[in-house]
Subunit: 329 residues, 2 copies
DNA sequence: TTGTATGCGTTATCAA
DNA sequence: TTGATAACGCATACAA
């Protein structure tokens, strides 16, 4: 196998020049370019991907990370520590990957994304399920949605596999002979809620059971309201969109002297820390938040490097973590 | 990612020593070895295969590619050129990536996958939607399913986004005011068929229409049978699981003197070459087969290198290619 | 427009 | 038993 050195020698130029020709840089005289190309042809030279990858690692990229005002609020709120932890962990995954590769990070809120910002970054990570402002939607740089997916947009996304997680756990409960399994969920315009909702629905339908779903916003009031509706169905199992909602439900059930898991069993989604210290401990589907951040950056880097540019959705498997809230004695 | 340098520093030795420990050379004091191993553990250090290959000036990655007997038959059959082309293109994508990286490839049928084979490869690409034999399922090496997905298995997969493709195109037809849209599909135990089926169903249901689906095997007889059932519903649009089925349907409709698109409109899936030369030309959803092969290898390499090891499903967006078969005058 | 020199993460050689 | 250091093939900042 010939190397860049052989080509350079044959063409009578330096390896830097050969490299430039290879990478289509400009600022090369036609004569030189032709000479190099002829040499490449003659030697049937093929650049080594291994070496190329290795050399490419060094490039300093500036990664933009944007969050909605909603998430910004969450990150700054004390009592919703549950959700806060979710995004914090995702961000940690992002940051650690960026740091390891010696890239730089620029974190902004949606409202601060002007043209100058877009121009200053090499790629964009967009966190959370909120509506995207136009300036972000239109930004013509590599983009990756994190914990969000917009089917109509064909933008790369990294999400958790909410469908299969929900589907699996609901089927499991049905196989344990519970039939009255209800779902209390957040607004379905958030993809992650919708995805889990669909998994729940699919499992119920497949088992010939009627899905019973109750929507709520993410406030305690909203959750209480949905919970009361749900309780009127005399459920054996309540499956909530996420752990934050599940934990509030747990709290409310306690107030009503309804015992979990003996009277009603409860399942969340996300596996935030509070779920493992609640009383009883909450059974839930673990979402790999840190890994989600990690892989999102990794995918973005690929896009920036023009590697596997065809847009794709990357969906991370979840794992059922069974704790006390589904272990009825 | 930490490097050999980090480990050396933490262990208080030189990188040469670390390298020795890594490669199990002898002539190292137990004390040093332990220190190095502890550092490796602590940093969760994984050697870079890229750098290792470069230094070794060899690419010892041997990628196993396995296909079912069914696919092997398809690849060797002349008249099923449609499906044949599909898998051929996927394989081309795989091969080109492997060649570029100067890796080696070992292609086998399911029945030839013994332990020796598994031992001889660094990672496994499994093509197509067929049932996996135990020896492959149990192989404890990095694996990626290509054009297949098994929810219960948590194995990495690369697939096309059949749901959204079907959903999008069906909604589009409904918005053009067609209400009698039927779906003729292959066996639903193949994930790709099931996925498209669900996209169709979701779009119909969402628009308040009753999904009308007809299963067939992939033989002409089977397709005819399903087609006749479907025709009894007096459809305005027929959506087929893939182009091969659609093209056979087209042929049968011609025999019946039913005009496409004026009497019935027809939509396929995959975008194989024959679809662009049929009469009329077939509207279809393009599946990026070559890219699918490419990204599958790329993902496998990552897994082999321990990069982003959390299992994930990568789903490639499809594109609607509108040709004559849906352009009713 | 072109060349020089450096670094990417690892292995291997040669000294110490 | 260990450490410095030269490759491996390429990209690129900086000089010329």
């Amino acid at each position: 196998m010939s190397t860049i050195d052989d080509v350079a020698k044959l063409a009578g130029v330096s390896i830097a020049t050969v490299s430039r020709v290879l990478n289509g840089k400009n600022g090369i005289s036609d004569k030189t370019r032709e000479a190099v190309q002829k040499a490449i042809e003659e030697l049937d030279y093929k650049p080594s991907r291994t070496a190329r990858d290795l050399a490419n690692k060094r490039s300093l990229l500036n990664i933009g990370v944007v969050i909605s005002e909603r998430i910004e609020r969450i990150l700054n709120t004390k009592d919703l520590f549950g959700i806060r932890e979710f995004y914090t962990t995702v961000l940690t995954g992002i940051e650690s990957y960026i740091k390891e590769n010696k890239y730089t990070l620029d974190l902004r809120m949606f409202s601060n994304c002007d043209d100058d910002f877009i121009k200053s970054i090499d790629g964009l990570l967009i966190i959370g399920g909120d509506q995207l402002p136009e300036c972000i939607k239109n930004a013509e740089i590599p983009k990756v949605l994190v914990d969000n997916y917009i089917p109509s947009l064909k933008v790369d996304s990294v999400i958790s596999n909410g469908f299969d997680g929900a589907y699996y756990v609901i089927k499991k409960m049905i196989e344990r002979n519970y039939k009255r399994v209800v779902h209390i969920h957040g607004p379905l315009d958030f993809y992650s809620f919708r995805n889990r909702y669909e998994g729940y629905t699919a499992a119920m339908s497949e088992k010939g059971l009627l899905p019973q779903t109750f929507e709520c916003d993410e406030t305690r009031n909203g959750i209480c309201y949905a919970l009361n509706l749900a309780l009127s169905k005399n459920p054996e199992v309540i499956f909530a969109s996420n752990d934050v909602i599940a934990l509030i439900i747990l709290d409310e059930l306690k107030k009503m002297k309804i015992n979990v898991p003996d009277d009603i069993q409860l399942i969340g989604f996300d596996d935030i820390i509070s779920s493992s210290i609640s009383e009883p401990k909450l059974s839930t589907l673990e979402v790999f938040k840190y890994e989600m951040g990690n892989i999102a950056v990794s995918r973005l880097i690929d896009l920036i490097n023009g590697k596997n540019p065809h847009p794709a959705v990357i969906s991370l498997f979840t794992t059922f973590v069974e704790r006390e809230s589904t272990l009825k004695k």
